[in-house]
Symmetry: C2
């Protein structure tokens, strides 16, 4: 029993030999006296062609095998006579493992992505989703491997939390109580009756907890699911998504950008190397020029420029923007696009106006900006967001108060600055954003196995 | 700037050279004219000793550095004069990065684990938790590496779900509604007003979703957090924990045991290789004989025996069990212990009475047992649980009805049996259970960064 992957990787070993494969019939082209079966076992992007004719044992049975069926097939590997493939399998014997009806929803024709979302449990069998989800898996491993090889500790920060770090109105509440009989006290929910004795949430970020481990292990990263209640139906928003959040002690903003750049190039290289068939497929059928885009990124030096200087460039641009660029404000998608095209490559934008960024970011000496950095990449906009963290206890507390953060809930986080704190920095990368960038597949619903979006939590 | 890890791994390169390190003071032993600083940067289990004397620049400043402080230190690496370490650093210069007060909770003395749980954000700085959480990180990477090298696809199954697979009374409900103003309809919660338009949960297993991907990629695994509302205060229960759930198409129970055994040996070997200092520490201070236990596991062949034959052995045992062994029932912890001692090694127990196992497991020909397997290991009890899955559509539906599963909610899962289904199998491994086994640290609260248990959701 071998995999199709073994065949493609060691064809010399198997040529002219008999092998047994197990997998699924993706297509069946029957002629009167012979036929071709397009066969996939999910271990490799490419399929293999099975051929049979009137002389094949059980011709009548093989001839009737339906698309979607699971089979065990034995036969000899030979050089392909026809065009389109290097080798093929001449069937000696077939065992039907699992039949598939004529009305199987996944017929070998073009389906819309909207339709495929409705059969999310079957869509990984299509070429498109075979490619997307294998790249997702390989990219995840690339990320782990990069950080482990660079001596980071992988930390499983908690999903359930009572720390309201990004604003609880954006977090799902969880409860073990009966929703039809919520116990109340003085007209309010009596959370003391709940499992944790207080209101708990599922988290939108592991950063605060991650920092506590960075102060012990120097370099850490998280990689796990995060949640937002945002009621937003766009191509880039989902209510459940995966994030990578590295945090590094003794690291400033420049050092952080070095790490972000090195990590991203490592991951892109890794995927180009391990998923060349998938990348070629996306380049041909999804985003023309994808391979060039990725290859160029790996070989480019990322630009570094301040938010202030970006606004300068935007103001001087001979373009009628929908939103006027402003030194005190965030930049819009149209601005991101202009800037990455202006520099013709990835751009780190640093030192943002403090009032549009999070409370824990380090205030620069100007008192107006924070040591934050967003990485903008051509075609995908913001891919990572990070900052040096405020490491002065009093400044952090003051900033928390200014921004209405509940200090009592994050006293432990603030205490890190009292107990051997140091300058440190970290960033977050939305994993789906990376997959969108790597594949050219634009809708977040098509890069998550089972996407959760408003009014949509099927399967 | 280098890491302590670099020193230990390439001491020949750095001997007699000046280096700069950044990290934290773990202890400070001062004499009148000289002193020793125990220094750690979190990159390696072993610390390094910094030495200084009256001739050192800023002696008076260095002498006053407090435990817990973050420093940047430059000095020359030399062979150690004293016992206890091979080399040490003679301080040339120190920069205080972050001070630490005298009342720092983590003084260099023995603290109880209970106390350390109360300062969970500081405990990773102790030797014990440095070792636990590095092993946790390395073991996680070992698992990813094993599966990726064996051509499994890593699948991020959804955390938010409306599928009630293990029984919703065990699942946390989630909501974006205001808990103080739950909208009602006919006296019941009006879930149509909630973000997903229905009651959603956070999941206790990714298995059902995992199977849909196994039917496309042949071999898949999940590795993510899972949740249970269990109101149970034991050493082995937490309400949030991490699980690994591989699922393999064209795999029967024997094949599944082969995979479980190979995977576990791989992970144990990997940790023994990469974390030898940590394992030695646990062997000395936490579980005497740990290293032997792990080495023996790697070299043993796991026993395979049916539940029926296990009960036979238990019945014949000359032991007064608290619970009488019974052919129709689960086995108790005392039985697990007896059996692993009886065979003096890991034991796969197969073919369990169907009524004590899950609805989706394959019923054996006897009609009474299912093709399930639990792996019992000496000293830790059940480490993995798996089964061949029922692949007959009608049998699965019948079993679901018998066990009161809501078939409408899992129709997509059942349909896998209609659309090219095949014999397949999978297992689940609780990641914390593995870490307990690898470290000898007995309480699940001490192997999770921020444990969540009833009435306990701090930080």
């Amino acid at each position: 029993m071998i995999d199709i992957k073994d065949l493609y990787q060691n064809i010399a070993v198997y040529m002219e030999k008999q092998v047994t494969l197990q997998g699924w019939i993706r297509n069946q082209r029957k002629q009167k006296d012979f036929g071709f079966i397009d066969f996939s076992d999910g271990t490799y992007f490419k399929h293999i062609q099975l051929i049979y004719d009137k002389d094949t044992k059980d011709f009548d049975k093989i001839d009737k095998l339906r698309i979607g069926s699971a089979i065990t097939v034995t036969g000899k590997i030979q050089k392909s006579v026809g065009a389109g493939q290097e080798f093929e399998l001449v069937i000696d014997d077939v065992l039907l493992e699992g039949d598939c009806p004529e009305d199987y929803p996944l017929q070998p024709k073009r389906h819309t992505r909207e339709f495929l979302r409705e059969i999310a449990y079957l869509r990984p069998r299509t070429n498109l989703f075979q490619a997307v989800f294998r790249i997702r898996s390989v990219a995840a491993h690339a990320i782990h491997t990069y950080f482990q090889e660079h001596n980071y500790v992988y930390v499983h920060t908690p999903l359930i939390t009572t720390t309201d770090c990004e604003g609880s109105e954006q977090m799902f509440k969880i409860t073990s109580l009966n929703m039809n009989h919520i116990p109340t006290f003085d007209g309010h929910i009596d959370t003391s009756k709940d499992l944790f004795g207080k209101q708990a949430y599922i988290t939108g970020s592991g950063q605060l907890h991650g920092e506590t481990f960075a102060m012990a292990f120097k370099r850490i990263y998280t990689f796990g699911p995060t949640f937002r209640t945002e009621n937003s139906n766009t191509k880039t928003h989902a209510n459940e998504f995966w994030m990578i959040e590295p945090e590094i002690a003794f690291c400033n903003l420049e050092g952080l950008m070095d790490i972000e750049e090195e990590m991203l190039k490592y991951v892109v290289n890794y995927v180009l190397d391990k998923c060349s068939n998938e990348i070629t497929f996306f380049d041909q059928f999804v985003e023309k020029g994808l391979k060039d885009k990725l290859t160029k990124l790996v070989n480019s030096e990322f630009m570094r420029i301040s938010h202030h200087d970006v606004i300068d460039i935007l103001k001087k641009a001979n373009v009628q923007f929908e939103f006027t660029p402003n030194y005190d404000e965030d930049i819009a998608k149209e601005h991101e696009k202009y800037i990455t095209e202006y520099f013709n490559g990835p751009v780190f934008i640093t030192n943002w106006p403090k009032d549009i960024k999070a409370w824990y970011m380090k205030t620069n000496k100007d008192g107006k900006t924070v040591a934050a950095v967003d990485l903008e990449v051509p075609g995908a906009g913001e891919l990572m967001g990070g900052s040096q963290r405020e490491d002065d206890y009093q400044k952090l507390i003051n900033r928390a108060k200014e921004m209405n953060v509940d200090i009592n809930a994050v006293d432990w986080f603030c205490n890190l600055r009292k107990y051997g704190g140091c300058y440190h920095a970290g960033f977050g990368m939305g994993f789906e954003r990376l997959i969108i960038y790597l594949t050219g597949v634009e809708n977040i619903r098509d890069v998550i196995p089972y996407p959760r979006t408003p009014k949509n939590c099927d399967f």
